[in-house]
């Protein structure tokens, strides 16, 4: 966790949503926990800022893909835990497929062209 940061890659909104949904596949987490998980899984490459994280979370709530409830965190602080809903799960599958298709296509273009 250094102070020297790599330039934060510009993630489109859809990607952030996808990452969060995926992060919640394993169970409920609070906001910080989600960010941490994503950081860990991506070897510190993807470091979500507050605004993009919480904006995305609200969007997911609006669309009904996650649900939220207040609970106690590890050190007994009041935290809001997010869970994936069934529609969210479907959305995750759908968006993952789409993303992989696009990603594959981009990679193909980069290789051949």
């Amino acid at each position: 966790m250094g102070t020297d940061k790599t330039l934060q890659p510009d993630l489109p909104n859809g990607a952030v949503d996808l990452l969060i949904l995926r992060a919640l596949l394993g169970g409920k987490r609070h906001g910080y926990g989600i960010a941490q998980h994503i950081r860990d899984c991506s070897d510190d490459v993807l470091d979500l800022g507050e605004s993009s994280l919480y904006t995305s979370l609200q969007r997911l709530l609006l669309n009904g893909w996650v649900s939220a409830e207040w609970g106690a965190s590890e050190n007994n602080r009041r935290a809001r835990f997010y869970t994936l809903t069934s529609t969210g799960r479907k959305q995750l599958d759908r968006q993952t497929q789409q993303f992989e298709r696009v990603l594959g296509a981009i990679q193909q273009v980069l290789r051949t062209a």
């Binding site: 966790m1 906001g31 910080y32 470091d47 800022g49 904006t55 609200q58 969007r59 609006l62 809001r80």
Partner: protein, 873 residues
């Protein structure tokens, strides 16, 4: 859908949710800090690291929040709240706007809706556009036997006949007079009208209107089969018409009952083939034109004349077919007054629009004045970073709020007004029912107009501020005086001009309509009393009726207050009309003429106050069955004897060749009098003497030189003494003719009301704008006074400025009015389009208002110490 639902849920707990998100973000930071500290950083360094990393918390919060509650919506609600607060601080503005907009839209909509409901509702029929009116022969009515032959079905024509009568209805113990529509058997089926309850049939059957059933029969659920006593005979109610049924007459005239022409009572009356009783309606076939219908009708007319030449005289020669207006028979005629009434509707629309314009200009003036005063506030906002679009939204929101307030008042007012207008009880027994539905299109249109006006006027002055830039002090617009063109000045001029035009127009109309109600009908309305006697219910024989009538007339003549007694079959300007053909002896040939006809007793002209221009009145020796004498009117002479030598010439009613009626000689010429409506041109009239045979239709006319009311009071007793069994009805002549006076009285009333509202708005608006603009110049006043001007000279200056502006506006308005009013000359009976009184009065009123509006605030300004005045902003 679910998204929307969730959004709404969010909105309800908005504040709480925002706090929650803030809390989350706070926790996020705390956790991040902890992690840094775990990695060895000091608390301070940890905090800084997090802060640097995370960025602006407020931004994050707002960004998250805006998912649910978009920025523009947030801004809008803020604007609305601010606007509401602003309005609460200036209640006068709110009141003025609500009054102006409310009065104009409310009044305008109500008025127009009522007129729409009365004039412009189509009659109830399956296909009103396929209906025609037709006549055959000399009379405008057809007899029952002819009607049956024509409409029986063998002719192939679809037609039906109707007439209107007053009948005596026994309501409990009290007799009441109601109007009944007497119709032939196929009336409802021919016109395609289905009843709400029951079915029409012949015999002693009656169909009642919905209102009658509701009000007079208490909405009896078992009304079918119930008995009503009409003219002494029991009738059975067999049907109820649907609600909102519009009779074939139009204009909201609604007879309470529909009775079959075929019924035991009428059998005697109906038999005569030569006696026309029913006005006819024909139904065009699918795709048939009037010309085609006429030719079919012609075939029938020829046939009828061939079979019954004695009765059906002139049938072949005179077949007339005319389209029945979908708005009713009253509106089909080519009479001048009904034409005026039709145009009245569109005229009203124009006036309502003008009224709205005045109201909008009022509001605009107020708003502009207010906007001027807020220049400083606006420049502060701009300097704080308010973008143009945001500024525009702010101002438009205020205007919108104001308009909505005003229009709401207007909507409420229009509903109330419309109901009130229709509930006014009519002072005469015309069967009149109207259902008023507010014209939403009009309301919408006026709303739009008001919205645009307020938006533009709240907005326009700011454009100036933008151009000048930030840092404009409001004093910029104050100095400079009225000699330089300014928005304010232009507005005053515009307001005055429009007000002038509106006031002059309504003023002219009111004057002319009041004059119209005083149109002399040609006879004396105020001294005559009519007596109707109902001898039918008592079932007298003709000789008995004769005796009764002679006795009655004699008794009446004996009364001291009575100066003349006479009788007539038809009272002019009531619903009865009789138009017939007449043949004039020209020596070598006979000339046909169409004339209004009446049958009268001797003394008619004296009683009615119609002067005899030449010749003599009827004498008791002149009787219809020895028809030697007729009297004609001046119009008849003008048309047929332009040389003026009518007296001595002979005329006679048309008849079949072998049954020619003897000639009658014209013995007198009477002055012109209105016959059918007040607005008509004088038409030829022929008076026949009443026959020796009793006519139960004869109405007695009594003239008194003293008080009519006392006479009316005494008469019932006298009449009872003659024969107590006979029900009588005594009325002043004026009441009987009310149906002709009604339209112009209503129009006068409505336009006066409109005029009054217009006056109020114009005066108030002018006062408001002028006084406000003068009050803006108070600091200028202080400056001048500090420089040595006397209060008097300042007052003169300010007041004269106000007068100059108003005069320019009035001049403009007068010029506009002078150009426009001649176009309305057709409506203005008795008043010149450039009537000096109206023009003068309006000018004077507006100028006085301008003077007062300039004077008072100016005076206040001069009272202040100069230093105070200078500081006033």
């Amino acid at each position: 859908m679910m998204r929307l639902f969730r959004r709404i849920q969010y909105l309800f707990g908005r504040k709480r949710r925002q706090r929650e998100i803030a809390e989350e973000i706070e926790l996020h930071r705390a956790l991040a800090e902890e992690e840094h500290r775990c990695n060895g950083l000091t608390s301070d360094d940890a905090r800084h690291a997090v802060a640097r990393r995370m960025g602006n918390a407020t931004f994050a919060l707002e960004s998250a929040h805006s998912i649910w509650y978009p920025q523009w919506l947030e801004g809008l609600t803020q604007d609305l709240k601010h606007a509401a607060r602003g309005l609460r601080r200036s209640p006068m503005l709110l009141v003025m706007v609500c009054l102006s907009l409310g009065l104009s839209t409310g009044f305008g909509t109500a008025l127009f809706s009522v007129v729409n409901a009365v004039l412009l509702q189509p009659i109830s029929a399956a296909d009103p556009d396929s209906l025609v009116q037709f006549e055959m022969g000399s009379s405008n009515r057809l007899s029952w036997p002819n009607l049956q032959d024509l409409c029986g079905g063998e002719s192939g024509l679809v037609c039906t006949g109707y007439s209107m009568e007053e009948v005596n209805w026994q309501r409990g113990t009290e007799p009441a007079r109601i109007f009944a529509h007497v119709v032939s058997s196929n009336y409802f089926s021919a016109l395609g009208i289905s009843l709400a309850q029951g079915e029409f049939s012949d015999g002693d059957a009656a169909v009642v209107t919905h209102t009658f059933w509701e009000r007079q029969l208490a909405a009896d659920p078992n009304v079918i089969g119930r008995k009503v006593v009409l003219n002494g005979y029991p009738y059975t109610v067999v049907g109820v018409l649907p609600a909102r049924f519009r009779s074939v007459y139009g204009l909201g005239v609604a007879p309470s009952m529909y009775l079959p022409a075929v019924s035991s009572v009428r059998a005697g009356k109906n038999a005569a083939r030569g006696e026309g009783r029913y006005q006819m309606i024909g139904v065009l076939g699918r795709g048939e034109t009037i010309a085609q219908f006429r030719s079919r009708l012609q075939v029938q007319a020829n046939d009828l004349q061939k079979r019954f030449p004695a009765d059906n005289v002139d049938f072949s020669r005179a077949v007339r077919v005319q389209s029945l207006s979908r708005y009713g028979t009253f509106l089909s005629s080519r009479d001048r007054l009904t034409g005026v009434m039709l145009l009245f509707g569109s005229l009203l629309m124009v006036l309502v629009l003008l009224l709205t314009v005045v109201a909008c200009v009022n509001v605009a003036g107020l708003l502009i004045a207010r906007a001027m005063a807020r220049r400083q506030e606006i420049s502060v906002r701009v300097s704080l970073g308010c973008g143009r679009r945001r500024l525009a939204r702010l101002l438009l929101t205020e205007s919108f709020l104001l308009s909505v307030a005003g229009i709401s008042v207007g909507a409420v007012l229009s509903v109330w007004l419309a109901r009130m207008l229709v509930a006014v009880p009519l002072p005469f027994p015309i069967p009149f029912e109207v259902e008023v539905v507010l014209d939403w299109r009009l309301l919408l249109f006026l709303t739009l107009l008001a919205l645009i006006a307020t938006a533009v006027s709240g907005f326009a002055p700011i454009l100036q501020a933008w151009r000048v830039g930030i840092g404009t002090r409001s004093s910029q617009g104050v100095r400079g005086g009225s000699h330089r063109w300014s928005l304010r000045g232009a507005l005053i001029v515009g307001q005055v001009a429009v007000s002038t035009v509106l006031l002059i127009t309504t003023g002219l109309f009111v004057r002319s309509l009041w004059a119209a109600t005083e149109i002399h009908p040609g006879f004396d309305l105020h001294r005559v009393v009519t007596i109707e006697t109902d001898t039918r219910s008592v079932q007298m024989t003709p000789e008995q009726v004769n005796t009764y009538q002679s006795l009655l007339l004699a008794r009446l003549r004996d009364l001291p207050e009575v100066s003349g007694v006479s009788g007539a079959a038809l009272i002019p300007l009531s619903l009865d009309t009789s138009v017939n053909s007449l043949l004039i002896d020209r020596g070598d040939k006979e000339q046909a003429a169409r004339v209004n006809t009446n049958w009268i007793l001797p003394g008619y002209f004296q009683v009615m106050g119609i002067p005899l221009r030449s010749g003599r009145d009827f004498a008791p020796s002149d009787k219809l069955d020895k028809p030697l004498a007729v009297i004609v009117n001046e119009a008849f002479v003008r048309q047929h004897f332009p040389a003026g030598d009518a007296i001595g010439h002979r005329v006679r009613r048309p008849a079949a060749k072998d049954q020619m009626l003897p000639w009658a000689e014209i013995v007198g010429v009477a002055a012109d009098a209105r016959y059918m409506t007040l607005g008509e041109e004088p038409t030829p009239q022929v008076y026949w003497p009443r026959g020796a045979t009793a006519d139960s239709r004869m109405k007695v006319l009594v003239r008194t030189e003293s008080d009519v009311a006392t006479l009316i009071h005494e008469l019932p007793a006298v009449l009872r003494k003659v024969d107590a069994r006979v029900t009588t009805r005594v009325q002043p002549l004026r009441a009987v003719m009310a149906i002709a006076l009604f339209p112009s009285q209503v129009a006068a009333f409505l336009l006066s009301a409109l005029g009054i509202v217009a006056w109020m708005l114009s005066i108030a608006g002018l006062y408001g704008v002028v006084s406000y603009s003068v009050s803006r110049r108070v600091s200028e006043v202080g400056l001048r006074m500090a420089l040595g001007a006397t209060p008097g000279s300042i007052l003169r200056l300010l007041v004269s400025d106000g007068i100059v502006l108003t005069s320019v506006g009035v001049a403009l308005g007068l010029a506009l009015a002078a150009v426009a009013t001649p176009a309305l000359a057709a409506f203005l009976a008795g008043v010149a389009p450039h009537d000096a009184i109206t023009f003068g009065l309006v000018t004077v009123a507006l100028l006085i208002t301008a003077i007062a509006a300039s004077y008072w605030p100016a005076r206040k300004g001069t009272r202040l110490a100069p230093s105070q005045a200078l500081r006033t902003d």
